[in-house]
């Protein structure tokens, strides 16, 4: 099994507050890993760290077998162009239209003409069920639509790994369901390795090959949904499962 991401003894602190404290994690090529943990425990920080957005105090990060920490900017940019990320806030560029957002990677990295980019954008937007939104600005879209555009922007360049940061948080249940379905469909279609941070146990149960729990700055439990259901001692996981069974 090929490790596509490997984190060894990662330490991170902001001013004097430690966030990650000796975290170890391997992600296997092709799997769908879900990360859970209480709010503020450092899940978003972990995703950004893997992509070299946050400096680490100690440890070793490897992505596609290449070292991320302490590497040149060009090398990191090269590694980043092989991944996609969907931010919790969607993080669409608010001065750009929908098609410029979705086509941003192509606009800045290729010599494709506007027509070519627009047609690639139209194609992926159709898969998202978002036809005819190309010329709108992000401020004209609802939260769920922004999330779809954000997923389209991350997937258009066919990344090898995709990171979802709480993709259903803050959406109404119907919209959350449709985003879950979209994530599953896209996973079937592109077979991308995916790492998803979520509080949404329903999403976790449907998309995860493995679930990892962050507590006190490290991964304290990791396994399949079933394994955790049977063995977990963790209060958070238990309450997740109770909430699930209540449905």
């Amino acid at each position: 099994m090929e490790k596509i991401i490997s984190l060894t003894d990662i330490w991170i602190q902001f001013s004097d507050t430690p966030i990650l404290q000796g975290l170890n994690l391997d992600v296997i090529k092709g799997e769908s890993l879900v990360i859970v943990g209480s709010s503020g425990c450092g899940k978003t920080v972990l995703l950004k760290t893997i992509l070299g957005l946050i400096p680490i105090t100690k440890g070793h990060i490897s992505l596609f077998g290449e070292q991320v920490n302490g590497t040149s900017k060009n090398k990191i940019m090269e590694l980043r162009s092989r991944v996609g990320m969907v931010f919790q806030s969607s993080a669409l560029f608010d001065s750009l239209t929908v098609w410029e957002n979705v086509g941003f990677y192509y606009l800045n990295h290729t010599d494709m003409t506007e027509q070519q980019i627009r047609s690639a954008v139209r194609e992926i937007l159709a898969e998202m069920g978002m036809e005819n939104f190309e010329n709108l600005l992000p401020e004209q879209l609802s939260g769920g639509m922004k999330k779809r555009i954000s997923i389209a922007r991350a997937l258009i360049s066919k990344p090898e790994i995709i990171f979802y940061d709480e993709p259903t948080t803050g959406l109404d249940p119907i919209m959350a369901d449709s985003i879950t379905k979209l994530i599953i469909d896209m996973r079937k279609k592109y077979k991308t390795t995916s790492i998803t941070v979520t509080h949404d146990i329903k999403l976790a149960s449907r998309i995860s090959d493995r679930i990892a729990l962050i507590d006190n700055g490290t991964i304290t439990e990791i396994g399949t949904f079933e394994e955790l259901r049977q063995n977990s001692k963790n209060q958070l996981i238990k309450s997740f499962l109770i909430a699930e069974e209540a449905k």
Partner: protein
């Protein structure tokens, strides 16, 4: 006692790291100025930084020229020297007031807005998103603005200079009754090409200062909407301070060479 030393030590380190990051940012923005793939938005920035500042520059420059003549002509008249009031306007505007005025207008009108815009992008993760899409935010957001500032500010300075002279002439010729030939002769008598060059160099330096400071504040933003407001304010205050400081240093420099 130890606490105080630690505090002072930390403050000094903070200053050093602040100016360190400012210098790095400026260097990176220059480095990428001619390598950015898409330069189409240069015109948008030129328009925003340059043309949109024009009304304010026009009004301030004309009024300053007028006021300077009003204030000086009546004093000089007592010595029969009112014909020199135009020289006072041209000499003070070309090397000192002109570049500083347009720079302060830029800091207030454009610098605060740049800090707020980039700061908002920072706290809403748009800067992170750009990095993940393998686009360098400095090259994409800051280099084109720097380029536009370096073109726009010296142009605004030249416009400002000639408008100040126009304002001065209106008052000097019409109100103070200085013969127009004499007025213009005296106005341009004490300045030369060297002064224009100094004024232009100063405005280029000030443009770099304002754009770099406000971009840096934007990129450092944290802490929600309050943080964005703080970034905008800080960028204006720090820009003002550095404009005045750089002006002093540059004046000193050109005085001795």
């Amino acid at each position: 006692m130890l606490k105080l030393t630690t505090k002072i030590g930390r403050a000094i380190l903070d200053y050093i790291s602040y100016f360190g990051s400012l210098t790095m940012l400026t260097a990176n923005a220059f480095k990428d100025m001619f390598t950015v793939k898409k330069q189409t938005n240069i015109f948008k920035h030129l328009n925003n930084i340059g043309l949109n500042s024009l009304p304010l520059v026009v009004i301030i420059s004309i009024f300053t020229g007028m006021v300077l003549v009003m204030e000086t002509a009546y004093t000089l008249k007592r010595f029969g020297a009112e014909i020199y009031s135009g020289s006072i306007v041209s000499v003070s505007m070309i090397r000192e007031l002109g570049p500083v005025f347009v720079a302060i207008i830029l800091a207030g009108r454009v610098g605060g807005a740049i800090a707020a815009e980039i700061g908002t992008m920072k706290i809403t993760e748009q800067i992170d998103a750009m990095e993940i899409l393998a686009v360098d935010p400095v090259a994409y957001l800051i280099s084109p603005r720097l380029f536009a500032g370096i073109i726009a500010l010296p142009s605004l300075f030249l416009v400002s200079f000639f408008l100040a002279i126009t304002g001065a002439a209106l008052v000097g010729i019409v109100l103070v009754n200085i013969p127009s030939g004499m007025f213009f002769y005296q106005t341009f008598r004490f300045i030369g090409p060297r002064d224009f060059v100094i004024g232009i160099i100063k405005s280029v330096v000030f443009a770099v200062v304002v754009i770099a400071v406000s971009a840096n504040e934007g990129l450092r933003t944290s802490g929600g909407a309050v943080g964005v407001g703080k970034a905008a304010t800080t960028s204006v205050v720090v820009s003002f301070f550095l404009i005045i400081l750089c002006n002093l240093l540059l004046t000193g420099f050109f005085y001795f060479i």
